[in-house]
């Protein structure tokens, strides 16, 4: 079994077998990441492809701070974001209200859900909600980072997250009832 470091070194040298192996190891998981940002699985594949090209071209810049998978994942997320950048700015302008006043009861959902159901819910989320929710809850970015990545204010990021959770909560309840 070849180690990750050896695999990366092989890829940097341009060894096709190493590149192929790295791709095979990570691609399905990364497509799972990209898929959350695109309703269309074809578009998700486009982002995956572009993301991997960036990974291979910038491998020598990977500084081994943090996990390699995390580094690749971040590239995938940024690539996915880039695809949407043209449209994103239209999704936030109406969110100036104060977030602090909103109280969200967040912590009492029970039951389990299939990926398909949750994916369907994500697909139907308004784009602004979808991105902030994905970036904050799934990718673990801070509001400050999200604000920078999406060119919005931190408050907008916070308010979008609150709204996203409200939206999801409603949808999850609907699905919960339907499933019973």
């Amino acid at each position: 079994m070849i180690s990750e470091a050896e695999l990366i070194a092989g890829c940097i040298k341009g060894d096709r077998a190493s590149q192929r192996q790295l791709y095979t190891q990570l691609a399905p998981k990364m497509l799972g990441v990209c898929r959350r940002y695109f309703e269309d699985s074809q578009e998700a594949e486009d982002a995956l492809q572009e993301g991997f090209i960036k990974v291979f071209e910038n491998l020598n810049k990977y500084r081994k701070e943090g996990s390699f998978e995390g580094w690749v994942r971040r590239i995938m997320v940024n690539t996915s974001l880039n695809y949407h950048r043209a449209n994103l700015k239209n999704h936030f302008h109406s969110d100036i209200e104060d977030v602090e006043n909103e109280i969200v009861h967040d912590a009492n959902i029970t039951g389990s859900f299939t990926v398909d159901v949750l994916l369907k819910i994500i697909d139907n989320m308004p784009t602004g909600y979808k991105f902030v929710f994905n970036l904050f809850e799934m990718e673990g970015f801070s509001h400050k980072e999200i604000a920078g990545m999406m060119n919005i204010s931190e408050n907008t990021s916070k308010s979008q997250l609150v709204k996203a959770k409200k939206f999801l909560r409603k949808k999850i309840n609907e699905f919960g009832i339907n499933e019973l």
Partner: protein, 346 residues
């Protein structure tokens, strides 16, 4: 008890989707041509352009200023003159290499001139004033002045370059001229349903400027009306404008039944299209034609009950009838539909 985030994280943990084979094929194809594409990618990033051109120009300015400041301590005018010609030469080279940048060009000119006037002013001083301390003092002053110009010139250089990122590219770009003539492509003309989005991609350039204001190689669009997207693709100083036309149509449609039974049982007694979604209908017309070519029913109102299966007050025979519907929806898209319906009597 779990938060929404917990549920999503838990469910998506280890979530995998197998990509289709063509993804790797495309990546491999790309990897087969690494140098050109690698550079293109580098060039694509705005910061890289700024950084590269900034380093390039500041390096020149710095050497220039250094050269001219070296002039000052020398006592012989001859020495000064030769050095000045040198710096003049240099200034010429900067000018030529910077020609595509009108702003920074002016600026670097200004800088060169100002440093030169400074050096020229120093020239007579060592010769005309033999008193050593004063001379030193003056030289010190001048040295200070000079360093301050150096600083400001660095600052002045910074701003115009930031504003003119794309022209600045040509300095570095020429070294990497692609071997073959560049081929530019853009996504084909396409038709979309209103509300759908589409990614339009251009290739072959080192920088892109879309009429939407984007500068990436692909843009995602969600047009409400048919619209022309154009992109200026640039590489090696060549600009090409590419267009793609996206037709937007409404995909709302009416559902038209394929059979009806006008027997007054309250079910399917009338032939009438049915609305899907919350579509609004602004204009409407429907015609039903019998096989012999006679119009058996026509209306201009969607609110009508529809055809009751009668023609001239008599029951029309069981048969296929052709129908034609034309309507304009509330988004002002006009739709034309045709088909046949079976009138069933039992």
């Amino acid at each position: 008890m779990a938060t929404i985030g917990d549920i999503f994280r838990k469910t998506f943990e280890g979530y995998k989707v197998d990509p289709s084979d063509k993804v790797w094929q495309h990546i491999e194809k790309h990897l087969d041509t690494p140098p050109a594409s690698g550079f293109q990618n580098l060039i694509k990033s705005k910061t890289a352009i700024i950084a590269a051109s900034l380093v390039f120009v500041t390096a020149i300015v710095f050497t220039l200023v250094q050269l001219t400041s070296e002039n000052q301590p020398t006592n012989s005018i001859q020495g000064n003159l030769t050095k000045q010609t040198k710096s003049n030469d240099l200034s010429k080279t900067t000018q030529t290499s910077l020609t595509p940048q009108p702003n920074s060009n002016n600026n670097s000119n200004k800088n060169i001139i100002s440093t030169q006037t400074l050096t020229l002013a120093t020239n007579p001083i060592p010769n005309c004033q033999p008193i050593a301390p004063t001379q030193n003092l003056l030289q010190n002053n001048l040295a200070i002045n000079n360093t301050s110009t150096q600083n400001t010139s660095a600052l002045q250089q910074f701003n115009p370059i930031q504003n003119t990122t794309i022209p600045a590219l040509t300095n570095t770009e020429t070294q990497y001229t692609p071997k073959t003539n560049p081929v530019f492509t853009i996504s084909k003309n396409d038709t979309l349903c209103k509300g759908e989005s589409l990614v339009i991609k251009a290739t072959g350039g080192q920088s892109y400027q879309w009429n939407t204001g984007e500068i990436s190689d692909s843009i995602k669009v969600n047009p409400l009306n048919s619209v022309l997207y154009s992109v200026t693709v640039s590489t090696s100083g060549i600009d090409t404008v590419l267009n793609t036309f996206i037709t937007v149509k409404s995909c709302y449609s009416l559902f038209v039944p394929t059979a009806f039974t006008p027997d007054n049982d309250g079910k399917n007694d009338y032939f009438h299209p049915v609305k899907q979604d919350n579509i609004g209908i602004e204009k409407y017309e429907m015609k039903i034609v019998a096989r012999n070519g006679k119009i058996v029913y026509s209306t201009n109102s969607f609110e009508d009950m529809g055809w009751d299966g009668k023609f001239d007050g008599n029951a029309a025979p069981e048969n296929f009838y052709l129908w034609y519907v034309k309507y304009t929806d509330s988004d002002f898209f006009t739709h034309e539909l045709r088909g046949q319906v079976y009138l069933y009597r039992h």
